[in-house]
Amino acid sequence: MEIFQQILFVAALAATAWYITKRIKLIARAINLGRPENRFDHADERLKTMLLVAFGQKKMFANPLVGVMHFVIYAGFIIINLEILEIILDGILGTHRLFAPYITPVYPILIDMFEVLAFGVLAVCVVFLCRRFIARVSRLQASRHRELRGWPVSDATIILTAEILLMIAFLTWNASDSVLRDRGVGHYGELQGIVPDFLISQYLKPLFTGFSDTALVAYERTSWWLHILGILAFAVYVTYSKHLHIALGFPNVYFSDLQPKGEMQNMPEITKEVQLALGLPVTTEADGAQANDNGEQPPAEVGRFGAKDVQDLKWINLMNAYSCTECGRCTAACPANITGKKLSPRKIMMDTRDRLEEIQQGWQTNGPDYRDEKSLLNDYITAEELNACTTCQACVNACPININPLDIILQLRRYRVMEESQAPASWNAMFSNIENNMAPWKFSPSDRFNWADQVNDAN
């Protein structure tokens, strides 16, 4: 019986590991569709940002109450995972509380800590469900934000419920185990005097005192299996969900933009053409392109100006999309969205991920070289959304994990204007004014200095 459980456990573990590896490869391949971009510079500054923003959750504390609550889930997630190590070893070796005899004095302290965190996680998940469905926090409502309709709302609900169930399984497992230990049943009794009752689960023991020994063992086994299988299933599920941020959030912040928020990225391929047009010497300091050993530039990639689909974006934009938590802080800060325009920076990120997942689907059903005819622009994101952006960077500032939706918007705009000549008519007028009059309005350049004539006039 014991050995049967062990075999089952190892099989479940192996299947999970295999499946997750497959998922990670698929996601990595999708992120690598993006254009190259060097985000490996300034390691010290990046590390500092990651410590503050990812580990320290600095931006989450913009709203201190939510910051603390999210921190409980986050700390609980990281710390309770220490317990998983024992659970996994117990599962493989067929032991029970493997570590207890070796670290007897600290063992109960550790488990007490896990229990407190588990209780905290449980409580916060309940509060978070209430925020969604009772307090109806605006940025989380599908009725106000079309990008949340359907799956995204279910996704959030599933995760919060699953976490509640996992924590209940963990706490009641400890409680039923304590009762078995008290009664001296089988190997459970062997830990009498070594493992005491725990801080929280001791209060759950009365729930189990009416159980027969057999029923109790059955509950103990079931809750143990539910807990660990739940965690394995969760790990797989996460790769399909907005909860991928628990893993990708960290690299995502590490690789985030370090330049001033207002700086738009240069297009070196255009610099060259402009220098030629103006008869200036062509400088070869083109950003991404590295000169080879002979000092020659590699042939310029024949690419598009701007982005039409995900492969025209940079890999970091695509990592951003997989990291997005769909929290909507960006959208809640967006002036266009606040005033009822179609643009929502969260939707930009979700669309980018949806498009990537569509491509992944294509690979899986039609082979790894499959390309469909769709594109991020038009099939997912419309011109109306793109044109509404004021480039105010409020979304960039608001994102707790330093995602930059604006960068995607601007690259798509570049494609529309430079490849498709699809700017709104009044923008085209502005362009031609700049070109002809050196100002965005139709004034004669020779009048540019006329204001100086009034400098001594009375106010």
Partner: protein, 267 residues
């Protein structure tokens, strides 16, 4: 003190170069500062302050051209780089080292985006420049209009604030006025855009429930301020239009920070 006759001058780089001189600082006027009737008054106010403190400055005059910011943000990188390269040729030709401008968009572009194209200058916004003058005691708000008891609220420009983290300079400048500074709810890094950036100023807004400037002006009016202070030509227009939209143009005025300083000094 005897009543001095105020004559202000605006030297150009060309004049200076002709007489073999170099200014301490180049005042980049920008398109709005040159052509927009309302913002020309800001340009003039700032030039008067420069004259008053006796700083050796110059402007490019007719040799200045749009930095290319609106074109770049609308997606026209070619046009942006054409503008940038031509401006850099002019600026480098005059060996310009230090630039001050009253436009946050010019400021951001000159400071952050020209270096990669070969234009390296020490660029400051006029709010920082005025803050420096006040700190050094070179500008004292006296002899002019009194601001005592008036309520002023400051609207953060995206390209000054979030883009470049200049939050204190304009507030320090306003603090010199001895008025009551009242803050809106969405300020500094959380400031709400006026709705003009990213090329929006040059087209009609997309369909929605409201215009962004109206949303922002409602917030500004909510502070009970009689003066909305701005530090950007586009914010100036958007806020002024918003105040008109709310029929408050008789009781609430929109001013650039340099105008308020000039008024306080009686310039």
């Amino acid at each position: 003190m005897t009543q001095e006759v105020k004559t202000y001058t605006v030297p150009t780089m060309a004049d200076m170069a002709a007489s073999g001189e170099e200014p301490e600082i180049l005042f980049w006027v920008g398109c709005a500062g040159s052509f927009d009737d309302r913002y020309k008054r800001v340009t003039i106010a700032f030039v008067r302050i420069l004259n008053h403190v006796g700083i050796k400055f110059a402007v490019l005059g007719p040799e200045e051209g749009c930095t290319g910011d609106p074109a770049r943000r609308a997606g026209n990188e070619f046009l942006f780089q054409m503008q940038a390269m031509s401006n850099i040729q002019v600026l480098n030709g005059y060996n310009v080292k230090k630039i001050v401008t009253a436009c946050p968009h010019c400021f951001n572009t000159l400071k952050n985006e020209y270096p990669e194209l070969g234009g390296n200058y020490d660029v400051i916004h006029h709010s920082q420049f005025l803050q420096g003058l006040i700190n050094e005691g070179r500008v004292r708000v006296k002899d002019g209009e009194s601001f005592k008891g008036r309520r002023i609220t400051f609207h953060d420009s995206c390209y000054l604030g979030r883009a470049n983290k200049v939050y204190e300079a304009p507030r320090d400048v306003l603090a010199a006025l001895d008025a009551d500074l009242v803050e809106m709810k969405r300020v500094r890094a959380n400031g709400l855009c006026c709705g003009a950036g990213g090329g929006q100023y040059f087209k009609e807004p997309e369909a929605g429930k409201k215009d962004v400037n109206v949303e922002r002006v409602e917030e500004a009016l909510g502070t009970g301020a009689d003066t909305i202070a701005v530090a950007c030509p586009f914010c100036m227009t958007m806020m002024t239009d918003g105040v008109k939209n709310k029929n408050k143009e008789d009781s609430v005025r929109v001013y650039d920070i340099s105008e308020l300083i000039a008024q306080g000094q009686g310039l």
